[in-house]
Symmetry: D3
Amino acid sequence: MKKLRELAVDETFELFALIKTADVRTARNGKKFIAFTFQDTSGTIDGKYWDAGEDEISRFTAGKVVLLGGKRELYQNMPQVKILHLRLAKPGEPGEPSLYMERAPVKPADMAEEINQLLFDITNAKWQRIVRHLLSKYQKDFFSYPAAKTLHHAFAGGLAYHTVTMLHLARGICDEYPELNRSLLYAGIILHDLGKVVELSGPMSTEYTLAGNLLGHIVIADEEISKACTELKIDESDEEVLVLKHVILAHHGQLEYGSPVRPKIMEAEVLHIIDNLDASIQMMLGALKQVQPGEYTDRIFGMDNRNFYLPNL
Amino acid sequence: MKKLRELAVDETFELFALIKTADVRTARNGKKFIAFTFQDTSGTIDGKYWDAGEDEISRFTAGKVVLLGGKRELYQNMPQVKILHLRLAKPGEPGEPSLYMERAPVKPADMAEEINQLLFDITNAKWQRIVRHLLSKYQKDFFSYPAAKTLHHAFAGGLAYHTVTMLHLARGICDEYPELNRSLLYAGIILHDLGKVVELSGPMSTEYTLAGNLLGHIVIADEEISKACTELKIDESDEEVLVLKHVILAHHGQLEYGSPVRPKIMEAEVLHIIDNLDASIQMMLGALKQVQPGEYTDRIFGMDNRNFYLPNL
Amino acid sequence: MKKLRELAVDETFELFALIKTADVRTARNGKKFIAFTFQDTSGTIDGKYWDAGEDEISRFTAGKVVLLGGKRELYQNMPQVKILHLRLAKPGEPGEPSLYMERAPVKPADMAEEINQLLFDITNAKWQRIVRHLLSKYQKDFFSYPAAKTLHHAFAGGLAYHTVTMLHLARGICDEYPELNRSLLYAGIILHDLGKVVELSGPMSTEYTLAGNLLGHIVIADEEISKACTELKIDESDEEVLVLKHVILAHHGQLEYGSPVRPKIMEAEVLHIIDNLDASIQMMLGALKQVQPGEYTDRIFGMDNRNFYLPNL
Amino acid sequence: MKKLRELAVDETFELFALIKTADVRTARNGKKFIAFTFQDTSGTIDGKYWDAGEDEISRFTAGKVVLLGGKRELYQNMPQVKILHLRLAKPGEPGEPSLYMERAPVKPADMAEEINQLLFDITNAKWQRIVRHLLSKYQKDFFSYPAAKTLHHAFAGGLAYHTVTMLHLARGICDEYPELNRSLLYAGIILHDLGKVVELSGPMSTEYTLAGNLLGHIVIADEEISKACTELKIDESDEEVLVLKHVILAHHGQLEYGSPVRPKIMEAEVLHIIDNLDASIQMMLGALKQVQPGEYTDRIFGMDNRNFYLPNL
Amino acid sequence: MKKLRELAVDETFELFALIKTADVRTARNGKKFIAFTFQDTSGTIDGKYWDAGEDEISRFTAGKVVLLGGKRELYQNMPQVKILHLRLAKPGEPGEPSLYMERAPVKPADMAEEINQLLFDITNAKWQRIVRHLLSKYQKDFFSYPAAKTLHHAFAGGLAYHTVTMLHLARGICDEYPELNRSLLYAGIILHDLGKVVELSGPMSTEYTLAGNLLGHIVIADEEISKACTELKIDESDEEVLVLKHVILAHHGQLEYGSPVRPKIMEAEVLHIIDNLDASIQMMLGALKQVQPGEYTDRIFGMDNRNFYLPNL
Amino acid sequence: MKKLRELAVDETFELFALIKTADVRTARNGKKFIAFTFQDTSGTIDGKYWDAGEDEISRFTAGKVVLLGGKRELYQNMPQVKILHLRLAKPGEPGEPSLYMERAPVKPADMAEEINQLLFDITNAKWQRIVRHLLSKYQKDFFSYPAAKTLHHAFAGGLAYHTVTMLHLARGICDEYPELNRSLLYAGIILHDLGKVVELSGPMSTEYTLAGNLLGHIVIADEEISKACTELKIDESDEEVLVLKHVILAHHGQLEYGSPVRPKIMEAEVLHIIDNLDASIQMMLGALKQVQPGEYTDRIFGMDNRNFYLPNL
């Protein structure tokens, strides 16, 4: 069975997909229709369901898995689906929504195992205890949340995947520059985006929470370290704690990107560059996957709205 | 007895002053000299003490009160003192450093009394308890600290004075716009710069602390509210707490001025404008006090480096 | 009778409204239709009139009051009206356009009275004469014009209402800082936006005039002061006149917002902050009125395109 | 007799020069000295007069012509004069200050004659009358003022010289693009900087006047056109007048450079570019005159602080 | 026979036009349609061809000349064509695409002749040889290419026309400032945009080439001068060559506009200003041609998105 | 024998050092003195040589090695040397200037060997040939030049050392992201700063050459690839060549940092980030080496003028 983004133009198909969004609107003729976005692991595609009755409107809602029969078309140069028939998945059919969402390419358990190994390289006792405490507190969410709503790593498990990749990069960089404090860099990387488990609503239909909008994940992470210190009876005014907090607070690199302080410690600057490196590569890879050699990608919002070329090599 | 900034050029004088800074340097002839900045409530003035011996270097240090005899001169258009004689204040003489430092024009006790009265207007119970808790925790420092190292309200008691003035302004503004939440605005104003009692080292020889440099007073205040909630058994994820924290976090108005989030609540925006209004007026008043009608002030760093004109009216 | 923005989705209604705009377009089927924006004091709503004949096109034009029968719907999440029937208001029906336009919440006569009282606080004779002269010259327009085409105070009487509110704020601020020149601040506030009576076309269907586009209201107000001086035989090169003109010219605060000079006098800076304070609060209040507690407003163009949250308090 | 900037290092000399500035200061030994800047048509040079008595201080003031005997030295890589003797010019000696100031390379009478000729190309009667009126009103100052205090054309007659050069450039550009309104461009050029006769204090020791600081030459010129209309009984609200004013108001091209409106008429944009072209070339020529082929100039403040290279060609 | 942009609203017509673009899309009813842009020397207009069959889709493609019968309409205030009938131009009919494209108002041969004459004013032998070599190498393309894809001079012959106009302007400017090196300015102008013959795909359906996207016309021109030197056996490290290259590299004036170096030689700065002058005037003239006196143009992207007013004079 | 920056304040010493700069100036008493900067591998220090005779001035010039006897002092908080005696190094003494200059911590031969090994990973034949050709052409300079005049890697061998470090980082990053084209990244890194062998004057007293100032190392490297293609008979318009050139041209990442094009290929973006990472770490390490734990560094120009804190860990 083909997936949504593997279909050719004008191809007729039938496949299972997740309803990502379902907006009910009124057409010019006064009748209701549903504007769907369907999703599976290959990506998303839009389609309109005309003359929708009230029962259909209440049945086909976001988060449901459906059997979709249709034809793949182009509308203003964008792929869309002409819906020919539509029903909910039945018992015995693959109706678990998580089957249709993009996921990190590594399993949560494997990422957890790898982070556990790298924890041994955090030789500073206070940092180690704080990191273990917070990983344990948010264990489940940390390995299931995305790292963003729409930008890079916006998929289930993306938060942990982004973290693990950054740890790999940091390992190589610490090998090259022995002056870097490896413990600080590792601890900072593991905690830098942990506030997203409070800032975002979860892996599906991800939205910003009220706390996310009013405080932001940077401040949330800082508060979490404070609370961990209280519970672990670590003095918050210790220089080691201040330095760890600083590395988190400064990781966006510049005030205009939302860090309340700019990096004032070498490891804070390096963490920021590693974060930027992984985010940039993920955004470029995501866009380049959609094109053929010799083509240009769409403009990427998070990369200053630039587009990229995939060379014929 | 005249004060330092009341002397005429070429006037000979003797007066008590505080040594604000004392830098030991080596002259071209190889001998040591001390470059002093003297201070009293009229302002500061520089003077050099040539051929300083080791005992003098160890005796005349920052924070000491001295009897200074000298002559007021001009050096490259800047006032300076030619030191004729210098000795430490003796017992029985006015040797208390705080006598020579600029102070808020209102007494700490009066400011405390006024804030206490205004607390009754905070009708939200959680905000009231948090504010009372933190005022009580930092009672002494809150009424003695300056509001800045060098910019506006950089004098003992400046933090509380700035807070009280902002409350006055907020009272009038809430009267004009009944839609504003007076409780939130008052609570936010009282706490907005409270983190400075940790960010700065104190009322004399004010410097940034390590926590000040690495976290900043905005994040410090946010952490203090978190801790107050823990001690007062208030749930930190309550919307009332999120909203109060937001008002503090956003009070610099723009990310590039160090707020990790921009105002997303009306009262946060208004608090930011009131803060800016009082700071601007204080900086302008400070500079205009130094000039005569028909003259221009020096450029003011905190006002985009503009200078101002005092009209002949 | 309900008003336009008080209707529930799918509610059928009949009410009087003003045609704010009426654009004639051609549908895909080749027939003409009219795209209306209807307005009453509750706000505006769009609706399309299909298959419009030439007589209907000439009858239903902007500025007419109509009896509108229809059904309130949602189109792409925006409220719209499905027009069921439409006719012009008849004699005897409430057909005066001004009944349907947003108005300042205070009557022109009351605002005039209040300004008259405050004029007594302008103790400088020249400023007082200039202000009285110009208020008298533009009496009618000053109390009927909006303060803007689309941003804040974009309603009949908005110019005077904005002015009066700023005077209230200035009164409180002058009470707090006795060093401020109250006369200058009041005179400056009254004149600061007076050039808008030339810059804008009037209270209905407000557009920029050619003079508005080519000169702008700041320069227009400056010219008006010059002319007033000529008529009142006040020497324009007097420092008092220069200072008053400066306060007007500088009131946008920064060159990039259209002031040809930045504030160089304390009262000019304060006037700019008060102007910004009232404009910001009006824009936020306008947007917050449209939402329920717990919701976010639309993005507000004049507030750096930010949206705001209405807390559940 | 050599001039100030023609002297070789270590050369002893005697020549007449103008005292441009004379600051009295106190040396470390407690005695007064005068820090002079001397000027002649070759440029300026600094020199210190040690142990100055009160009579010398009152005799050697800015604006006096002196006979200076001295030795040309280098101090921290900057040329300076070691003063050997100094006296005021006597009757019969060349004691007219204007002999020592930089001047436009064309005589005022020749510039006036040329502008008079070009006036015939202004075929619009209103513009012609306004221009003639204002040229006549400020005849003397217009041909003797500099165009700036320190940037380009900062010399006696610089204002008219800059204007004439721009007219030459405009003539060629209008020949190339017949769509341009030659009358409007010529009238706009002649008036664009005329406000400087009020903004600046005069050709010697040029400073900004109070009107210059508080209003700026752009607004001053606009007011002058208004007044000319009143006197000439031209209706100020005529489109021709609005357009002429706009060309003046917009000539700095961007709001952040002090124009209250950006160019909205083609000729306004072209005038701005011509102004920028002449100013840039004058600044570059001035700096390049000081260096030899193969050398770089000092950084030029008005050219974004860039330096320029004089090629070996 | 009228042209496309000369038609009145609702006028029925038949005329020959070029298909500039032809996008095939699917309508809501599932049928294909072609969204055309037609072009002739008067400008362009859009039109939709409903229910397009496969043969029509393959026949009516970009670059074909057609006989178009239709009705001129307005759609959302933009002109469009309702297509009544459409067929390809037959043999014997005016089917040459170039007949329908905008062209420079001067013939290529005349421009070539004029440039040849001006070459005699390049008195530096190396510059003359390099310029002649490159003009000869790209002779055909230089006189047929546009100067841009969509901004100014985006028509056949626009590259040469822009160059010749700049030479005219430079001639007048060099006459005014004899210090300018006329040879360098002329040589620089002729070569400054020559890289566009590689950067762009050609005079029809102009697109950026891969080299254009990856290198840009500025670097391409620099490489061309290097190659010319190799072929002409001129030492590339000669100062004359460095200076010529610099003038080309710096002609966008600022780094953020794509010049790898800012102008460091007076002629480079002047060339940049002349380039900007001609481009600005062309963009304004193009927009002003579309409106009547008393109207405003559309916003012009290349002029900071400003619109312009055509005065009633 | 201690080195220059290892001396304690007031310590008397004698050691060999290189004269880095020697400026001759005139003191207030009319006598000449030499303002020296001395250098050895520990850093630099200033010192003044009073009453310098002509023979001393001609003997003690930049580039000479001297035996310096003196006393280490503080002048305005900056270390300086009081010169007690000074003579040129004699035959038999360590008089080779390169002994006193900072050097890369790895030997040129070792760096060359390592680059040679990594060349085998460039599997694209054209890139491999171009890289080998240019490395061979500039072999000597590539391994002896600094990477900058004053910013990061401003020491002999710095260019190659920066290159090798970037290759190490790239190796780890390519291991993490297999989608990256390792050949392109390695080839791009080796060539990205190679233009500096033309842009800079050499390892000692490094200055910008005329070609460096007028073209810049980015364009110079592009030209070198063009020339290599000519000599190697590789078609320059091949996509492989365009892509390699692009990676070089875009490596400053943004137009305002001097790249004529922004990265449009993933490897170009990654190269830019790696370049920035190594440069940033080198600048921070250089500054942190000068301070003790608990201290702040001086502000670093190349890091947005920030200072950094060395934690007490």
